[in-house]
């Protein structure tokens, strides 16, 4: 289990992480969601010990970053997603995969299999300098897979990928999850997180403002666009309006007959509505006005 305990980190007066407490279990995909500059990468860097918090600690399987030996031990368990601009341009993709597989002692997962799974056969033996952005991004992801560490930190892994590649990597993420990996991914691709993340953490003002259990979202909402007519209709109902003018009416708070009346009124007024669970994008709009 990966624990973040009482972590506070500030750059000068700017407190980026304020007494953050989190626990992550193996075998889950955790999404980190927040606008740029809100602390996602900072949190990942604290987990990697690239940034040392002023208060609190990170612990994985009872080991904390205390000595250099601990750091190496923890880095053996945690692998982070490199930036594609930092790849060695004169090396091949295979060189990179072999490097990470060797450094992290991966003997279980053959590099060849990773290349096949991520459909990299056509270019993996060419120099990285010939790759497109999408190819590089796939390689960076493949390197983390090659490391085969129990914890994988993926910062914007889907950036620059076309829908096919997003789907390919998403499938791979599910496979890794089945292998009991803990995957923490910071992402702006909310629909993707919606689909695959077990848990989504919304960060803001140094805190985790929402720790969403994405797989246990049973609440349903009546959703519609905010107009004078709808607000008039909903005058006697409990609802909230998101910054994108979306109205959310929690169904659990409305009695059955009242709900029937409301739907009838909406139909009569020709107002489009939907009954859905709240999605991550809605929450994003809710939290980050």
């Amino acid at each position: 289990m990966l624990k973040i305990k009482d972590v506070t980190l500030a750059f000068g007066k700017n407190v980026v992480l304020d007494d953050v407490n989190l626990e992550f279990k193996q075998g889950e995909i955790v999404g980190l969601v927040a606008p740029n500059g809100t602390g996602k990468s900072t949190l990942i860097n604290v987990i990697l010990h690239n940034l040392t918090p002023q208060k609190g600690f990170v612990e994985y399987e009872n080991t904390r970053y205390q000595t250099q030996k601990d750091t190496i031990k923890l880095h053996q368990e945690i692998c982070s997603f490199p930036e594609q601009s930092d790849l060695f341009p004169f090396m091949t993709g295979r060189d990179h995969l072999n490097l990470y597989a060797d450094l992290w002692h991966n003997s279980e997962k053959p590099v060849e299999q990773i290349i096949t799974d991520l459909q990299m056969e056509n270019y993996v033996d060419k120099k990285v300098q010939t790759y497109s952005l999408g190819m590089k991004q796939r390689l960076c992801f493949a390197m983390v897979v090659a490391a085969d560490s129990p914890v994988m930190l993926l910062d914007e892994v889907m950036n620059g990928l076309d829908p096919q590649n997003v789907a390919l990597i998403s499938q791979m993420l599910l496979k890794l999850k089945d292998e009991n990996k803990l995957i923490i991914m910071a992402s702006h691709l909310l629909s993707n997180l919606q689909q695959y993340a077990d848990r989504v953490l919304f960060m803001g003002k140094g805190h985790i403002i929402e720790d969403l259990d994405n797989k246990k979202q049973n609440k349903r909402y009546l959703k519609m666009q905010s107009t004078p007519e709808t607000t008039k209709l909903l005058a006697n109902y409990d609802y909230e309006t998101l910054p994108n003018n979306l109205i959310l009416v929690p169904l659990e708070k409305i009695e059955q007959d009242k709900l029937t009346q409301l739907i009838a009124s909406l139909v009569r007024a020709d107002i489009q509505y939907a009954v859905e669970r709240i999605d991550i994008e809605d929450l994003f709009n809710k939290f980050y006005d």
Partner: protein, 420 residues
């Protein structure tokens, strides 16, 4: 686990444009040395019948005149004092001419061991006449008149030559190492490289080592996130990087050496590691002492010093690049340290005046100077050779290792920072 990392770093090292530049520069220097410098190298004590024959004729003529002058002065009734030149000539020339005759015959017959034997005796005899007896009929060759130290340099040159001839002769007897003209003139590839591996030549090689090592750590910032969190300790990373530079340096100098051998050997012969050479130990009990050793032993000592010194400079440059976070400044500072002794105190008699310089590691950075004994001669300090140099060099290496160890323990000093 570390092998791939090592190979990755080695590949990055080998295709680094700065390192390619250094490789090319070394190759060019090696070619220049082999094709221009060596053929034009001035051999002061040449094995050449022409000047010896001319000298033989001149000296014979002079001896004849001198004998007439002496005979004239001995005539009864003549109050004539013969010139000192004539007196000296009569007493010394017969011996010199006897040597010259044997030397000329040896050259004609290509009997090189006979040449070595008589030339050695001749150089020893004439050196005694010039240096000890102050005989003005003889002079050291003008080529020694380069450092405003003509008499001393000439004396040292003659002593070294006759000791070398004796050593070569002993080698022929003991190890059947055949002699030839090129060997006697120290022109064979192994001999000429031996004589060149000192002074600025070696210091330039050390500077090259410094610049090879200068960006081996700082270069990682280009690949920052790929290497930032790899599960290797700072010390392991630095050892692997040291190994990479060592391999690169070795490759560079081996290629340069092979080029030199391939260019020189066909023309002058390769020589042999079994050939004898001499190293000067300094004046011991007021007597200049030369020690005979094989070229193989010389090269062994050279390689030991070269390994220690290149290790020192790789680790020092790495240390400086971590502390100063700038590869250029690190390379420059290491280079300045490398040439510091040559710039500051390599001058006549300094060792006699400041004996503590023997304990300074910088004294030994030019390697060949200390191993051949040139340093002992220049500094007028006996014993400043291989054995004396080992202690200070190892101490310096240990100090650098301790500093590196301490710096790698400090978390606030990472090997590289993204913003560097």
């Amino acid at each position: 686990m570390k092998w791939r990392y090592f190979l990755f770093q080695l590949k990055a090292f080998l295709i680094n444009p700065k390192n390619i530049g250094l490789f090319i520069a070394t190759v060019i220097m090696s070619l220049y040395f082999s094709l221009v410098s060596v053929p034009n190298r001035q051999v002061i004590e040449q094995v050449d019948a022409k000047p010896i024959g001319k000298e033989y004729i001149d000296d014979t003529a002079f001896l004849k005149v001198a004998r007439q002058e002496i005979a004239y002065s001995k005539k009864p009734g003549y109050d004539y004092i013969p010139s000192k030149g004539a007196v000296d000539a009569v007493s010394t020339y017969p011996q010199v001419l006897s040597y010259d005759k044997k030397i000329l015959l040896a050259i004609k017959k290509k009997a090189w061991d006979a040449y070595a034997k008589y030339a050695s005796a001749r150089y020893q005899y004439i050196d005694e006449l010039i240096f000890v007896e102050g005989n003005q009929n003889f002079l050291y060759p003008a080529a020694y008149n380069q450092n405003d130290n003509f008499k001393q340099d000439g004396h040292f040159g003659y002593q070294r030559t006759y000791h070398l001839y004796n050593a070569l002769l002993a080698g022929k007897k003991d190890k059947q190492t055949e002699l030839n003209k090129n060997i006697l003139e120290e022109r064979t590839a192994l001999q000429v490289i031996q004589n060149s591996l000192s002074g600025w030549t070696v210091l330039i090689m050390v500077v090259i080592v410094c610049f090879f090592a200068a960006d081996i750590v700082t270069n990682d910032r280009k690949y920052y996130t790929v290497l930032e969190n790899i599960p290797l300790s700072k010390r392991t990373i630095l050892w692997l990087k040291t190994g990479v530079v060592e391999v690169g340096v070795l490759l560079d100098f081996v290629v340069a050496g092979i080029i030199a051998l391939l260019c020189i050997a066909p023309r002058y012969g390769l020589g042999s590691l079994r050939l004898n050479t001499v190293d000067y130990l300094g004046k011991i009990n007021f007597k200049a002492t030369f020690r005979t050793e094989t070229l193989g032993m010389y090269y062994l000592q050279f390689i030991i010093f070269a390994i220690i010194i290149s290790f020192i400079f790789i680790r020092l440059t790495i240390l400086l690049s971590i502390v100063l976070r700038n590869e250029y400044v690190a390379g420059m500072l290491s280079s300045l340290f490398a040439i510091s002794a040559k710039m500051l105190y390599f001058s006549l008699g300094m060792g006699f005046v400041y004996p503590f310089l023997e304990k300074w590691p910088m004294t030994y950075f030019s390697i060949g100077d200390s191993i051949t004994g040139n340093l002992a001669y220049l500094m007028d300090a006996p014993g400043w050779g291989f054995t004396a140099g080992l202690g200070p060099l190892i101490c310096l290496a240990l100090v650098i290792e301790i500093l590196l160890f301490l710096f790698t323990q400090i978390k606030s000093i990472p090997l590289v920072r993204r913003g560097d």
